[in-house]
Symmetry: C2
Subunit: 546 residues, 2 copies
């Protein structure tokens, strides 16, 4: 009798968020395939995908890829997975719409098998009978999964909150969750993102009041910055625009494309009397316009990023503009975001952001909602996922308070296999569960060794020395050539003198050298430079004998 | 008749925080001389000091350096200022104790003139009559300044909060603030740090309850991590230790040194029955010990930083330890701090941090306190300082709500001169008000151009090519040598192939080259590598003719 194996794969800090594997005998399903953004010290990396080498020799066993919702950290790596694994992708209409858009841009839409499943529907994938239950989150058409396995029913919550008044009027499907519990839930894998936030996450509706005040008071243009996938925020901005007689336009492609998909599929209600092209919007009186833009994280290439430094092509910030940052900084981006806010102020805009006004709410359940989920689903075992280790621990504490025994809670890291056999959970082996860097065109080519080299280069720069010595007696035939970058400002006179002393040092060493000239010089020059500057640049010497 | 000139100098993001100049005719005083820590993209920089070149040709006019309190961002650059400016330093006993300690370590204590002034005292410096008023903050012996100038009374709040139950039992001197207002305050320069925080900042006393719960529940050792200068937190940990029969020890030099100074000067009440050396503490039963340590920001060289990665020499984290992070992340450090918390959990510790429990409070006034300060001091003009531009704007909004006309509020950036003449404020010229990098031994040698080079190196690395060509016909005499760092993983087979194609590309170009071989090759190789990898390493070619 095979076992049920559950494997969280590939997160960065967070566990069980970007990809999860469910395995039973010769059948595997993958749940979600997302990307992560590099941390501040992962220099030069574009993005990161889960390391799914665990599946390398099992690709033929993968029966399907199930996606819970359309956020980048859940769909961004679908194309990388499809390059290695030929399996159908199952998701709700909007999620699939976003995936389709991405695959169309990246060129492998033709070969992908995309299967639309509506929230509430049930479908079979190998030995797994999967049921989608609608949950509210910060993107529409998000689902939790009920996965009926030969070992029992597993509930995979995905990202969720219990918003009683969501903008799309579609609350979490409490009945389905309760129905699952009535069938008996073996284990729940639950979102832990906000496990250290007390109380309830506010409803998206609180933003209506904040928007209303902004639209009432703003003397000129309003620029609402948000995530490109935050469809409900577009709806809220549109409703406020309608109330205050403003026209709305999208600045920037990604948001416009997503809005188009959402309108086409019926998730966004924007009519033609309200929406105008950006070129027209820029010709209207400032107090008749609201522009939607991306760039809430201060990304230099985004609209808001460019507006903050004055490099946006279509338009600039002007005195009287009101910029609403309808977002929170993603952890690690706090510094960039506050710098962007300050720069927008500097350029004459008024900037509204949380905590100045409640213009954003989290999409994740806070503690009381997490308790409600546990009570609704009543799992025998809990596997906290979707969070950093500290959030998982906190989720475990909450569950213990609710009476789930500590022995029935598995706080694990990515790559730890969790097995269920005859209704019992146990931790099994560790498999590779890390991540792979994507930089430029290629995946995995930049290793952490390369990033460490970049780190070293970034700290104190680099020094190259080119030497020409005579083959006969190793005499220097030319003045040593020194190239430095990121080390000292060579035009500064003190630095120029130091370099000239370094040249002398090299000359002396060449004269007295024996053994390997190159590595001897590299060592001695490195220590000379350190003694002179207390810095440790990378030092390279090439010796050309003539 | 000269004017009064006020110049905020040298902040990084924040304005009027690290150094302020008051100038009247031929007399100048400096208020505070602090350092800043580099932002995440200021690669390889150790710390930053204010650029005070505005004072370069006025050093003989400087009558004194007044320090409001002993935090690094207010005292850290005193030694750099004293290297250029010979003037006495005025501060309260504890602040001066900390400055003395720092100067003793850095070697120029002998020449420094340090003048102790107690809170409540008045002293004359040139034409300025200065009065110290005690304020509560997150370090003892902190003062606001009343500066009687020929133009009128200026109140410089420094960092403050209105804590009614501070740990040292010494609340803000409300009477003095009110007395100043009764004399008529021309202008106030007020702390804006928490201008976007509603309500009141909680009293330090709330931490007692949180500590009590931690000490009651902790099964093993307790490690309280805090800032080395947070004397009141040491006191609170000591009181909890006494209540629960634990001994206390300091791990780490900076905190131990500061504690010594604070004990000697009477700001910290620790007796010998409680305090033991760290070596002894490590031999006691775990539940009989509390260790105080630094490293709340996850700094790799700090005790907590080393504990989190297992490289601390004296002791390691063990199962059952409780680590209390009695601090908040400094903006920009959020990522590092959460990584540290996760690693401590990984090593078996339980970690208590805000918001899990209220084990830290801010040292700065929130909105209601800022309003109270404005009502107590009743300034005619307000210059919001100590904060980012967004906080200054918010402070200005609060002041407007309280009836200060917008025209009487000056929100400026560093380097903007504010003049007072015949009781009227006006903005004057801009002077250099930036910052200077300190990296290694020397100040100002690393320019922003060098940091930009480091940034470029850190993004895609560096490629160095060494060529030997014949002088006669520019034929390649040897296979081109290519050195790369931070670009690709050269041992990876795909990368090795790419490099060998790049060598072929170089060989072809050399054969067909005319004009400047070196720069032609650098350009063509850079574009070849970009086309192959979508990355842009720095490329250097040296051509040696033989």
């Amino acid at each position: 009798m095979p076992k049920l194996r559950i494997v969280p794969l590939g997160g960065l800090g967070e566990i069980g968020k970007n990809m999860m594997v469910y395995e039973y005998g010769d059948d595997i399903i993958i749940v979600d395939a997302g990307i992560m953004f590099p941390e501040n010290d992962m220099l030069g990396i574009d993005y990161i995908i889960p390391d799914f080498q665990y599946l390398k020799d099992k690709t033929h066993k993968v029966r399907g890829i199930i996606i819970t919702h359309g956020h980048e950290d859940h769909i961004g790596a679908v194309r990388h997975v499809l390059e290695e694994i030929n399996a159908p992708v199952y998701a709700t209409p909007l999620t699939l719409g976003f995936i389709e858009g991405k695959l169309a841009r990246d060129g492998n839409l033709d070969t992908a098998q995309l299967v639309t499943i509506n929230a509430g529907d049930t479908f079979q994938v190998g030995p797994f009978k999967i049921e989608f239950a609608h949950v509210s989150h910060s993107i529409p058409d998000c689902v939790a999964l009920g996965i009926e396995t030969p070992e029992g029913l597993i509930v995979h919550t995905g990202d969720y909150k219990f918003d009683h008044t969501p903008v799309d009027g579609w609350p979490t499907d409490y009945a389905k969750l309760a129905e699952w519990s009535s069938r008996g839930v073996l284990a729940m894998l639950g979102d832990s993102t906000n496990a250290d936030k007390k109380g309830w996450t506010p409803s998206e509706r609180v933003i209506d009041d904040a928007f209303d005040k902004v639209f009432r008071d703003a003397p000129g243009r309003i620029i609402v910055a948000s995530f490109a996938s935050l469809v409900s925020r577009m709806q809220q901005a549109a409703e406020a625009a309608r109330r205050y007689g403003r026209k709305m336009a999208f600045a920037g492609t990604s948001m416009r494309e997503n809005a188009k998909i959402a309108i086409r599929l019926g998730y966004l209600d924007l009519d033609e009397t309200l929406m105008i092209p950006i070129e027209e919007a820029l010709k209207l009186k400032p107090n008749k316009v609201v522009l939607m833009a991306t760039g809430t994280q201060g990304e230099p290439s985004s609209i808001v990023g460019r507006l903050s430094v004055g490099t946006n092509r279509a338009f600039d910030i002007k005195e009287g503009d009101t910029v609403v940052l309808s977002s929170h900084p993603i952890p690690g981006n706090e510094e960039m975001v506050s710098r962007t806010i300050n720069r927008l102020f500097q350029r004459g805009a008024n900037v509204i952001y949380d905590p100045i006004a409640p213009v954003h709410v989290s999409g994740h359940a806070a503690q009381e909602e997490m308790k409600l989920m546990l009570h609704l689903v009543k799992p025998k075992y809990l596997i906290p996922v979707h969070g950093e280790l500290r959030h998982l621990r906190q989720h475990a504490c909450l569950a213990e308070e609710l009476g789930i025994p500590r022995a029935n809670i598995a706080v694990v890291e990515n790559g730890r296999v969790i097995e269920f056999e005859k209704g019992k959970m146990k931790l099994a082996e560790r498999v590779p569960g890390g991540y792979v860097f994507v930089d430029g065109t290629r995946v995995g080519e930049v290793s952490s060794a390369v990033v460490r080299e970049r780190e070293q280069l970034s700290r104190d720069g680099v020094v190259f020395v080119n030497l020409v010595v005579s083959h006969k007696d190793r005499r220097l035939m030319e003045e040593p050539e020194i190239i430095t970058r990121g080390f000292i400002h060579a035009e500064d006179s003190e630095s120029a003198e130091m370099l000239s002393r370094a040249r002398q040092h090299i000359t002396d060493r060449v004269a007295s050298a024996n053994g390997d000239l190159r590595s001897g010089l590299e060592t001695s020059l490195a220590s000379y430079l350190h003694q002179q500057t207390r810095r440790r640049p990378m030092v390279f010497v090439v010796v050309n004998e003539v």
